[in-house]
Symmetry: D2
Subunit: 229 residues, 4 copies
């Protein structure tokens, strides 16, 4: 994500943001939720279609990928449940009439193609589910929710892309169900830097605590997995 | 919504937006979906808590209210199904442990209080359901969806507030189910003008066609209600 | 529920059942799930419409009511989350076109009427949510699920009526989400004794452990509430 | 399904049933819903695990299969949307902790194995989605619902197995959303003849119109597909 040309906009957005943060705090938004006791890690849509800058949907997410690799490593050490997602369809009917018109790129997301495969740097293990989600939110039209309940998860760490679509949608869904939702800022990305900034602001105000990757790693390293019921 | 002080930001956001719109079009976003054959009208959260500027959550939504009144009038003439929402709770358990921490204002949204009552200017009729929704999206934890299916609706017009929360959440849900979603731009509002602009951009790119109130009224006036099956 | 006239049928059903239980065990059904660590109690539809035998939907559920009172008393002592349900509608649109045709009695279930009020013997307390559910399952079109997640519940005790409708539907939904589901046999009832027996058989094979009220009370009396996170 | 040994039970169940049907009609159950305008066909779990009598879960469903083939043939002629389901998992986590204990047979349902493959007699075509459903209802944890909405379906024909599990669960879900639900009696089956009979009774009383295959074929042959919007 090369944000240089739009840097002035972002700076301005952030200066306006500080005024807004006071307004939101007065209005009763943006409370801190913090960590629960049983976190799970979601890695959203880190497949070639999004991560390869030569792809139609792609952008340079190499920094995001490195952050996710760091979190994955600790998450595996402390045995968090880990879920990956991608988007894939077999037929236009699976995409849906309306969805196909708004999001023309979905017709290229063929089930089983390279484009929808996770990037190998993630090193997904066989017991880590790969969920083919049909929409932005990892909860819509999938059975992620019952797996989280099965594992007695109460906290969801959301990483991957894109901040303004699948990350926000997934955060909103998880929050709706009363999960603690944590977004490590450097572990989420978007092809559009303004949308990234604006959506992180909304996510933090409404759905999740946006924190640093460092804070995420520090918390997880101290984590002792609960005995599975 | 007094947008003057932030006008430069918005102007800048929009100039960046035009570049972005090309980027999004190339990436296969922001297709036009248009109208289906059986629209319904949703009026989101036009209750005192949001519409009264002296309220903690409130802002000046008088222009939004006038737009909604104009749409309501035509929608009733042509007998669209019309649904209103508000947010209301009886107990902290109903809000939920996580949700109550992030959104402190919800504890004041007592079921049956003036604060959560629709503003009388809407003139809700007894057969127009009032849905108490527990979250941003009007679809979450409610039975709006089965009512839309019951009425063989294929198109949802989303109006009310706030653009960056309940409007966007409701648009995303409706789109997920393959409803045509239309957002009349002047009939939605937000206490935060940047969040309003940024979210209308995302909504139009990802979930709904953002159109004018004039276009909405013109389309509805030509609408002949289908014979109910 | 006066089961005498049909007792021969039930006896026969049960004698066939023992053969069937072997068949089901071989096929890999009817495993024991047991209790989790954080139970909640659901009391389904113990309102006048179902509990008053002079009502169209009613039958003699006095024994069921006594069993529920016994469970409620212990559940309150050990501070379980307790949820009550009823069914109520303001308009035909809320019932829905198809549902109203199949279930003609629903048009009499007016929101706010005596018919849909819980029987006073339950002594519902203000912090115990009353959920107006539009369908058989207490999870459909309501926000029960997010409240269970909020309370970190992992086990749901299902009581009330009717076994062949709302009890079974609620058990199936809770099981789908990986909740431990327990049905105290004498605390659920049905106007139709065969349907009661046949559905308890299916429920035990597929969705929940059917146990005795005595076992339920014994387990709950030993229960120490976990510290809420 | 060789029902001979239990025939007396079934006869008795049916004689009791006729008394019960009056009781149910008085109570306002079992109304006729009939056909809507845009039907879809669901073929539930006609995979080797259920259809091969030598399999643990299997029984002789050859008559059911022939009925489904007849319906499929007409449904393809008149271009109904057709959906197939099976059940398949990659890992114990996908099954879920509670579900795996109750339904021990699920651990053998490996994604990609012969056991979970549809029987070839169905001749599934590439544009007819195959949905891997994790639970009894074809709607739970899948995105069937948005596909039905996409196709403007208002009527669901439910066929396959097992009557007392996946058929009933799917009928209840579809009914909850106000779909017209039709169950062609000879096109659904169950390893347990009593459960089959008892559940068809409940399904007809509460969720769907149980009709004959002949009536289904006759209706579909007269059907002219609506122009897709």
């Amino acid at each position: 994500m090369t944000a240089q040309p739009e840097a002035p906009t972002i700076a301005l957005v952030y200066s306006v943001e500080s005024k807004r943060q006071e307004q939101y705090a007065r209005a009763g938004f943006a409370g801190r939720v913090g960590w629960g006791e049983r976190p799970a890690l979601l890695v959203i849509d880190m497949a070639r279609a999004w991560v390869d800058p030569t792809e139609r949907l792609g952008s340079d997410l190499s920094g995001v990928l490195r952050s996710i690799q760091a979190i994955l490593s600790v998450a595996r050490d402390v045995r968090l449940p880990i879920f990956f997602t991608t988007m894939a369809y077999d037929s236009p009917l699976e995409i849906g009439s309306v969805v196909a018109r708004k999001l023309g790129h979905l017709e290229e997301m063929k089930r089983g193609s390279d484009r929808v495969s996770l990037v190998p740097e993630l090193g997904r293990l066989p017991h880590e589910p790969l969920i083919e989600k049909p929409r932005a939110s990892a909860f819509f039209g999938t059975h992620l929710l019952d797996m989280l309940i099965s594992e007695r998860v109460d906290t969801v760490i959301v990483t991957g892309c894109s901040t303004s679509g699948c990350i926000r949608g997934t955060c909103e869904s998880a929050f709706n169900y009363n999960y603690h939702v944590l977004v490590p800022r450097e572990a989420v990305g978007d092809r559009n830097p303004e949308a990234h900034a604006a959506n992180l602001f909304d996510i933090d105000a409404r759905y999740a605590d946006v924190i640093s990757v460092a804070e995420t790693l520090e918390h997880l390293r101290r984590f002792t997995p609960a005995v599975t019921p």
